[in-house]
């Protein structure tokens, strides 16, 4: 028997979740000598992803957020994990295979035959760090690629504005947009993040949205207006972006992290939607699992981003929580915007 420590949703938060109060580490016993479930496998977790949207599941059961199933308090928080199979009763997933899929965030996972289809063996021919498959080579990368090409339909020479721009998706959107010949402006929530945008990701301009008037920052950096807004945060920056948008502009609604900690009645009121008809803006909410998004771009995303990562054209910056013990704090920091880069938990060796 070993300890199996897990990241548990322990109490429904009102606003910003607090580590140790709303998210806790709880341990159960795990029998590492037992046989795996019939047709399934047991595995040891290597990495788990921490994503802003998780906040939308940490709500009271009678107050669901549209598109997200409330997680019962007391549950282990599920998300994408990368794990190495220890024991298997599934010929397609033999021991030692590294798999990726949705699972409760804990040190050991036990997957039944019915659940096994949710996991894929991870193809890693270039032998890169596995966490890249939770970032540029995973869902965030695919969301960035498909959201940009399918929803925003970029044209060379256009200007794109990206919010949450140092985050999991934002940092990739900006770099993919540079490759597409766009002028890229980013907003992030600290001076450190802004330096990352310009110095590491090579954005054309960036500003700290907590530092002064966001409208003035955007007017300074994109005086002619913007063609595309890739929205990861919502709130005031969304209002400012609509105001700065050129005719026939496009808004990719990927997330609204600034609004996830507020009750629906406390959301920021967007005053500029009256400009939608006059500017003929197209604004589309995306989910990478929808038909015509992830499926359509999976192959080209893997090819292009894999190449850019391997030849150093694209950079990926992570915010790594180094153990499951620190996971509640890591998640709280993510919700508060205190982390820098794509957030993951590293459980140990690859």
């Amino acid at each position: 028997m070993v300890q199996n420590r897990a990241l548990v949703f322990s109490a429904v938060p009102d606003g910003l979740p607090v580590a140790g109060k709303h998210m806790q580490v709880q341990a159960t016993e795990f029998d590492d000598a037992a046989q795996p479930p019939a047709g399934g496998f047991t595995a040891k977790t290597i990495y788990a992803s921490l994503d802003p949207y998780l906040r939308l599941r940490l709500v009271a059961p009678d107050k669901p957020r549209p598109g997200f199933e409330p997680l019962p308090a007391g549950s282990i928080i599920p998300n994408t994990v990368i794990a190495r199979i220890i024991k298997s009763d599934n010929a397609a997933l033999p021991p030692n295979t590294v798999v990726i899929g949705m699972a409760p965030i804990q040190e050991y996972i036990s997957v039944t035959g019915e659940q096994a289809f949710q996991f894929s063996p991870l193809q890693n021919p270039a032998n890169v760090d596995l966490k890249l498959f939770l970032g540029p080579l995973g869902m965030p990368g695919l969301a960035a690629y498909a959201g940009l090409y399918e929803v925003a339909k970029p044209r060379t020479g256009e200007t794109i504005f990206v919010s949450g721009a140092s985050g999991a998706v934002g940092q990739l959107v900006g770099q993919i947009a540079k490759q597409a010949g766009l002028r890229v402006i980013g907003a992030a929530g600290s001076d450190e993040k802004v330096r990352l945008l310009t110095d590491v990701f090579k954005f054309d301009g960036a500003f700290n949205h907590r530092d002064g008037d966001a409208r003035a920052h955007l007017e300074r950096l994109a005086p002619g207006g913007i063609d595309i807004y890739y929205d990861n945060v919502g709130g005031e920056l969304l209002d400012v972006a609509i105001d700065a948008m050129k005719p026939l502009g496009r808004i990719v609604a990927c997330g609204q992290s600034s609004q996830y900690n507020a009750l629906p009645s406390q959301q920021y009121g967007i005053r500029n939607t009256w400009q939608m008809p006059g500017k003929r803006i197209t604004w589309r909410g995306m989910n990478i699992f929808d038909d015509g998004l992830g499926d359509k771009y999976r192959a080209v995303h893997q090819e292009k981003v894999g190449q850019w990562i391997s030849d150093g054209t694209m950079q990926a910056v992570f915010s790594e929580t180094k153990s499951i013990e620190e996971a509640p704090a890591g998640l709280a920091d993510l919700f508060a915007g205190k982390n820098v880069g794509k957030a993951v938990i590293h459980f140990g060796e690859q």
Copy 2:
């Protein structure tokens, strides 16, 4: 010489424009014995359209609304007119031809050779009342048809919610949607208009948005939610519609008449845009002159709507201002939502 009375934008309003103060009738002399302009024509106006969007042009020159050119105070208000040619120096547009085009709203118009291309001879084989070409057979009808089919992409059995539903575009959207096999719910601003929606236009449900809680009305009439929102008014109904929207819903941003009289800083704050990603909503601002909208649907619109009008399947209700003297009041009533049906000025015989 005759008097040529015109509808003049006389002063910039702060909020709701007042007849006699911000819009006035002013007369000039018109020489009906003179030769027409070289290559052009003179004509006598029969109908002029009054449209909510005109409010977006009646603003201070330094406070333009995106997508709309401010009209200099003192100018004659321009809009679509139907007129009969009196004298012509253009072989393609001989005297007695009825034309439709953009012109200053006044009793007599004088069109130069350079401007003549903006006018089309009106094809009226069924000899219907000419005002129908400012409603179902004109721009409002085309906007309704193209907005519904190109932007909303309706599927049989879906539910559509239409605001400003007794207005120029709304009444047609609802009736076209019924023909497409949709369940149609409408909102309008008076009990009289609501009766029109259910009794004349045969909507499946309708409510007065000034009467009680709009959210409760919509939940009662569309308990399963809505697939499409055709937005003519913006404001609170937009917020309510986003909240009622099903996953993968579509919003057609045709107009926001409830917001046209407020300064940008006073616009209603929409709190529900945070639902865009979770519900994967597509929201698109439309202008009938954009590529792929009016041009794409012009032929099918004329054929279908022409047939529905002539066989009595489609009804068209107008709010007719009976003379140019009453035009300032007619326009003020339109901006205040006091008129019923598509607003036009009737100058006299057909």
